[in-house]
């Protein structure tokens, strides 16, 4: 049902390119507002996406990703309101725009993959199973994954689930323990299992930045700083913004633990520079500055941070141990934030 829309795209493109320059300008303005964090109250026409996506449009990868998120918000609202045909049009628009964003900047590929899994899970949760399945099976079919990468990803997912089990250290719904129990033997076993899966993922695909990040954190909490450092430096080279941000943050934590405070501050600063909407990096930096007696700086940087983000804060740390099937709110908000300016 929705697959037929693919053949309509050239017509939409022609229409948008030749007949609606005013609408296209308004559309770009709406995207600009979205990137600035201003609520976009006007309706956005999914038919204009093709023109923006066209190689000659002059749109940047960041603008295209923001436009995709603008349509994603509309898609999810319509899916919630049980209006599948209108929702499908926005979904097609978002996919078109993301594809164009990747053509401009291949580093957006990891972003598009996260978008696909998060949006499909949300659509499923909203009862729009047909749309979710279409997105998974056809909408993003062009976003091919090699067998090697797929195998690495399967190992990564197993590792993530074990790491979540280790972190929870027992069912959250269980009785609250009377004493603090920071670690249990069961949790330690889960952590070892998680590390094994992440190592498998990296053995299959040494470019798997997520596996490097999670392996690095496990080595960090095990106190194996050299191993952690090696894995995290790999992750810090990733083009995927949340992975890179967290890797820099964890590298800062290693440096801080080793009393290399200036190095720690440099890593936290790098994390802030790379992703300005996070909260952990400015707090970590402020805290380390306080520790070395630079109190006025510790205070000034927090003021600057709060005034800069104006309440628009989303930290990749809040999605670090998210169950990809259920914890979707922060993942979606992070996707939005990665298009803000």
């Amino acid at each position: 049902m929705y697959g037929a829309r693919g053949v309509l795209l050239p017509l939409a493109l022609i229409a948008a390119l030749t007949q609606r320059p005013a609408e296209t300008a308004a559309y770009r303005e709406a995207v600009s507002q979205y990137r600035a964090g201003t609520p976009v109250t006007v309706e956005v026409d999914p038919g204009l996406a093709a023109a923006a996506a066209d190689a000659s449009s002059g749109w940047t990868a960041d603008e295209l990703a923001a436009a995709a998120m603008l349509h994603t918000d509309r898609l999810l609202r319509l899916a919630k309101d049980s209006q599948p045909p209108r929702a499908a049009a926005h979904m097609e628009a978002a996919v078109t725009l993301l594809r164009a964003a990747i053509a401009r900047d291949p580093a957006r590929t990891a972003y598009a993959r996260r978008w696909g899994s998060t949006v499909a899970a949300l659509l499923h949760a909203y009862g729009s199973r047909e749309l979710a399945d279409h997105l998974r099976l056809e909408g993003l079919a062009w976003l091919t994954t090699s067998e090697r990468a797929a195998a690495a990803n399967a190992s990564f997912q197993l590792g993530l689930l074990a790491e979540i089990r280790a972190a929870v250290a027992g069912p959250l719904s269980g009785a609250v323990p009377k004493k603090a129990v920071p670690i249990t033997a069961e949790a330690r076993r889960e952590l070892v299992e998680a590390a094994g899966h992440f190592e498998d993922a990296l053995a299959t695909d040494r470019e798997h930045a997520g596996a490097a990040l999670h392996l690095g954190r496990i080595r960090l909490i095990e106190g194996r700083d050299a191993d952690a450092d090696r894995a995290l430096r790999g992750a810090a080279a990733s083009a995927d913004a949340p992975v890179r941000y967290l890797a820099l943050l964890f590298l800062g934590a290693i440096a801080e633990r080793q009393s290399r405070f200036e190095d720690a501050a440099a890593q936290y600063r790098a994390a802030m520079a790379y992703f300005r909407w996070g909260q952990s990096a400015p707090l970590a930096l402020s805290h380390v500055l306080m520790r070395i007696g630079r109190e006025p700086e510790a205070r000034a940087l927090l003021i600057e941070h709060f005034e800069g983000v104006r309440g628009r804060t989303i930290d990749p740390l809040w999605t670090y141990l998210s169950d990809p099937a259920t914890d979707l709110g922060p993942a979606l908000e992070l996707l939005r934030a990665e298009t803000w300016r």
Partner: protein, 305 residues
Amino acid sequence: MAVKPAAAIVALALALALGPPTPQFRSGVDVVTVDALVTLDGRAVTGLTAADFELRDNGIVQEIDSVSIDDAPVSMLLALDTSNSVEGPTLDHLKRAAVAAVDALAPDDRAAVMTFAEGVTLRARWGSPSGATREGIMRTAAGGSTSLYDAAYAALTLQDTGPGRRSYVLLFSDGGDTSSWLPARGMLERARRSDAVVFVVTRKAPKPDVRLEYRPGVELWTPQSPAAAAGAAMIDLADLTGGHVFVVQRADELRGVFSEIVSQFRNRYLLRYRPRGVDAAGWHTIALKLAGGRAVVTARRGYAR
């Protein structure tokens, strides 16, 4: 003057053994302020003078330069938990309580408003209690998890630095921390270096942080963690700064408690002294008591330099 080689060697050895001279406070330069509440049978005691107090800094009795009550303007930072758990009527009560606290301030006092769920948001910057402060409170919505330690750290870091003011943090939280980067230890470290007094208002008595292991930061299972998790961090925070923990049973009690806290600001003493005979650096334990009588003194437990 000629120095005998043997004497020089002895002097050098002594110098090496003793290490570099420990810096001490220079008299008249570093003033320490201690914000204290004196109560007898639960009621504030007023009318005391410097002669009524005995103050020790790292065990050394100090001369108190001044004691004042109710003449220094107040700077109050409201840090309000707006996570999922306060959604609904609790949030309405919380907003009304916060506005009442702002309304109870004097015109020369100052206020700032911060809210927190996962994210910490500065809703109103430091300024006179005004419409903007109230607006900052009223436009708050609830949702998300709780970065309690991050918020407490930020509140203490952003305290008003204006001279001659009393700094207070009124922190409301409905539960434990679930999403901070900073561990409780980081927040307490901040408190040790702060002049602000923290009043914690909560709907559940603070407990040890049993869910520490769920937080995704990096300080989970390091050897320090069990100790960090052993105490109820928010009780430590209030205790360390000379504040208090208020536990309410129902949300409609918040307004009364907030107002009571603000009225307590007016009955607190502000003591100033210049430390003498103690090292400048490191942690200083403060012991403050009345020279006589059975009244209870509540004040910060110390400070870090």
